[in-house]
């Protein structure tokens, strides 16, 4: 509308064609109209630019007006959290295996290293897989081998307090079972867990956990697995069915601001087939034995943590104790690499440990632990004469002190008196240990 008029006016002004016989009055009117429209348009443009200028000025005046890009916590963008634990040290103790007298233990547990040694280095990768799942793998690196200690997925979005975990995972039974060696408060595992599982009980299977919608912490869990790990065993042949079952209940809460506690009761059942254990016979000869039958374990656990005002930074105290009772019955084949004599086996055994860790100043902690095992009822049937040792109560005292220059490094000195073996006490065990954590390492559980 504006343009044709302008064009017409320009033509009219530039080419005063006499042939068109346009009157002066007509021309003047047209010029006036043109001027008017031009003025109007200019004013409009001016107003528009002024508006935009004002907007820009306003934006400049408030420096933080362009909202910072929302940056919520990410774990290393899309890469998994990667963490490596370096452990090693020096140990001084008697040579050979330290199998508690009177207990069947996993034959795969090797004698603890002496002198300078590199302990397991743990490589841990974890990340959210998608909005519904999280995954984690823990690989133990040792000379010439890499063992998959854990490799699992866990649901994040089931809601209603439900979580499902699948794959290979540390069972939720007991308290110390879910702790990796680098999270232990002592240089070695307690006698109870050593005897029951070696290091800890690992399931290849599924776990379902439910957290009750109550103000008091109440967690119930159940697990099924292939039962390959001690106290289960599949004799190398595997099985289609379920080889191990576990169920656990944990309750916990706070007492005031300074104390928090958790207590639990767990049950583990397995049907081992051809499970290998080494036993010294009554003549003192080390023999191979296999057990097939039923294994059932109860574990009761209790943890109490205290810190002034609930602030553990400077001083804190942790008390931890667990008790187990294991019932096993079935058949034990004695001396499988020799005479191979089958016999009935029945045992009802128990044990416990208690430990206290006291952080008396920032960076420094001291701890004391006592372990005890009770042989209980032990019946080797036809092999009784060959295998039943004299009555003995294995026990161990450990005293440790550690220093942590930062959250990510720790050095530890431990002295122990190990009376696990009848007639063979080792009163002067000394360990010096370092534990270093590299990279993004997830938080430890309570």
């Amino acid at each position: 509308m504006f343009k044709p008029t302008l064009l017409a006016a320009a033509l009219a002004g530039a080419l005063p064609l006499p042939a068109l016989a346009v009157s002066d009055a007509d021309l003047a009117a047209l010029r006036a109209e043109f001027q008017q429209q031009l003025d109007h348009k200019l004013k409009e443009l001016q107003a528009r630019y002024e508006d935009r200028l004002k907007q820009m000025e306003a934006r400049l005046a408030t420096p933080d007006a362009p909202a910072p890009a929302p940056r919520e916590a990410r774990s290393n963008d899309f890469n998994p959290e990667l963490s490596l634990i370096l452990q090693g040290g020096y140990a001084r103790h008697k040579s050979g295996e330290r199998r508690p007298t009177g207990f069947l233990r996993d034959a795969a547990i090797s004698a603890p290293a002496r002198g300078f040694s590199l302990n397991d280095s743990e490589l841990i990768l974890s990340a959210n897989i998608d909005p519904d799942f999280r995954g984690q793998a823990t690989v133990i690196l040792a000379d010439g081998q890499a063992n998959v200690e854990e490799a699992w997925f866990q649901t994040l979005a089931l809601d209603h307090g439900l979580t499902v975990k699948g794959g290979r995972f540390l069972s939720g039974i007991g308290y110390a079972n879910e702790q990796h060696p680098h999270a232990w408060d002592f240089a070695d595992n307690n006698l109870m867990y050593q005897t029951l599982f070696g290091e800890h009980f690992t399931q290849d299977g599924l776990q379902l956990k439910w957290l009750a919608p109550t103000d008091t912490f109440l967690e119930l869990g159940g697990e099924i697995g292939n039962g390959n790990a001690f106290p289960g065993a599949n004799g190398g042949g595997g099985r289609n069915g379920i080889g191990s079952w576990a169920a656990f209940a944990h309750v916990g809460g706070d007492v005031g601001e300074s104390s928090a506690w958790r207590a639990g009761l767990s049950r583990l059942a397995a049907r081992p087939r051809g499970r290998e254990s080494k036993l010294f016979d009554t003549a003192g000869v080390d023999t191979n034995n296999t057990f097939s039958g039923r294994s059932r374990t109860w574990i009761a656990d209790f943890v109490w943590k205290w810190a002034p005002d609930g602030n553990p930074r400077e001083r804190n105290f942790k008390f931890q104790s667990e008790y187990f009772q294991r019932d096993e019955d079935g058949e034990l084949i004695h001396d499988t690499s020799g005479v191979n004599t089958p016999g009935a086996y029945r045992a009802r055994q128990s044990g416990w440990y208690a430990q206290g860790i006291w952080q008396f100043m920032p960076r420094w902690r001291a701890g004391l632990r006592y372990d005890q095992l009770h042989r209980g009822e032990l019946d080797f049937g036809a092999n009784q004469a060959a295998l039943l040792p004299a009555g003995y109560t294995p026990s161990k005292w450990s005293l440790m002190a550690d220093w942590s220059p930062s959250e990510f490094s720790r050095f530890r000195l431990q002295l122990a008196r190990d009376h696990a073996i009848l007639g063979n006490p080792d009163d002067h065990q000394v360990s010096v240990q370092y534990i270093h954590s590299l990279g993004t390492h997830g938080a430890h559980k309570f």
Binding site: D64, A67, P68, P70, R71, E72, A73, S75, P131, R134, Q154, L156, A157, L158, D159, H160, G161, L162, T163, K209, W210, L211, A212, P213, T214, D215, T216, F217, L218, E219, H250, V251, G252, G253, D254, E257, A260, W261, R262, K305, D309, G310, N311, P312, R313, E314, P362, R363, P405, S406, E407, F408, G442, A443, H444, K445, F446
Partner: protein
């Protein structure tokens, strides 16, 4: 009759319990802010107290149980809670509070963070490469966080949208007025040299113009040692300061050691709501902070 009254009361209680939002705040300042914005519309609890170091909290069973029942988590973010919050969320079995869900609110996403180094080398101590997370010490940040938190509350509880909006407007008005008052009162503090314990006071210094000369911690998160403190004492001889600032959750020993030898006061500032008797809410927090700073100047 009595039974009927009891039943009705129970029903009413159940109804109101359903109507209120269950909010778990990671730190007391966010509990206080949520309370300002939601009033009786939310049941707010806090995971930590002012006497607890928010960097070092354990994922206690009681916290997991509370996370299980929370409709909304209000946290600082910027990796402050990295040592315990991820575990709390995972163990809770609560899909509403997972990252990316409306039930997870991170305050740091809505403010401008200082000290964004981008360097993630632990040789530098316990660093937060994404920026310093102690931004609640500048009340102007509370205004921004409130402006983001109010819409989040509306999103979770649309029925009470107008109430949240009105409460936020009221909060903004009161806070803006209070900030003007504090800034006026704190004018003499501008340019005053101080020593801090950890980078907990960067935002306060930035707001009031305090000059941070040194940190008691040789590196962030690393406890001061006698030798590092002695070095600091030497430095203060040529570069004198007026006071040492610390939070209620930090050890008083390093500050006292230095204060005694340098002849300057240690000021324990409330740091967050509940950090002192006077810091009962967000307004009391800064009333007390400014008063204590000015008191130490005399």
């Amino acid at each position: 009759m009595l039974l009927r009254v009891l039943l009705i009361t129970l029903l009413l209680a159940a109804n109101t319990a359903q109507a209120t939002l269950n909010v778990l705040a990671c730190e007391p300042e966010w509990a206080a802010l949520t309370q300002e914005l939601a009033g009786d519309l939310a049941r707010v609890t806090t995971a930590t107290t002012a006497r607890q170091d928010p960097h070092h909290i354990e994922a206690r069973p009681s916290l997991i149980a509370r996370a299980r029942n929370a409709d909304l988590l209000v946290c600082t973010g910027a990796e402050l809670e990295i040592g315990w919050l991820p575990l709390l969320r995972r163990e809770s079995g609560n899909a509403r509070i997972q990252p990316g869900q409306p039930g997870y609110f991170e305050a740091s996403a809505h403010v401008h963070l200082l000290e964004r180094s981008g360097i993630a080398d632990r040789a530098q101590g316990d660093v937060h490469p994404g920026g310093n997370p102690h931004f609640q010490a500048d009340p102007r940040n509370l205004l921004k966080v409130a402006n983001a938190l109010a819409p989040r509350l509306v999103q979770l509880d649309p029925a009470n949208a107008s109430a949240y909006a009105a409460r936020n407007q009221d909060f903004q008005k009161r806070m803006v007025a209070a900030i003007a008052r504090w800034e006026k009162e704190a004018a003499p503090l501008r340019g005053v040299p101080v020593v801090v314990q950890h980078r907990s006071w960067s935002y306060l210094a930035d707001w009031l113009g305090l000059k941070v000369v040194a940190d008691l911690e040789p590196k962030p998160g690393i406890e001061p040692s006698v030798s590092s403190l002695a070095g600091l004492l030497d430095r203060l001889k040529t570069q004198p300061v007026r006071m040492i600032l610390r939070t209620p959750y930090q050890s008083s020993k390093p500050g006292e050691w230095l204060a005694e030898r340098a002849g300057i006061p240690v000021v324990e500032l409330p740091y967050t709501v509940g950090g002192s008797a006077a810091a009962g809410d967000l307004f009391g927090l800064f009333d007390d902070t400014v008063a204590k700073l000015k008191g130490a100047l005399k």
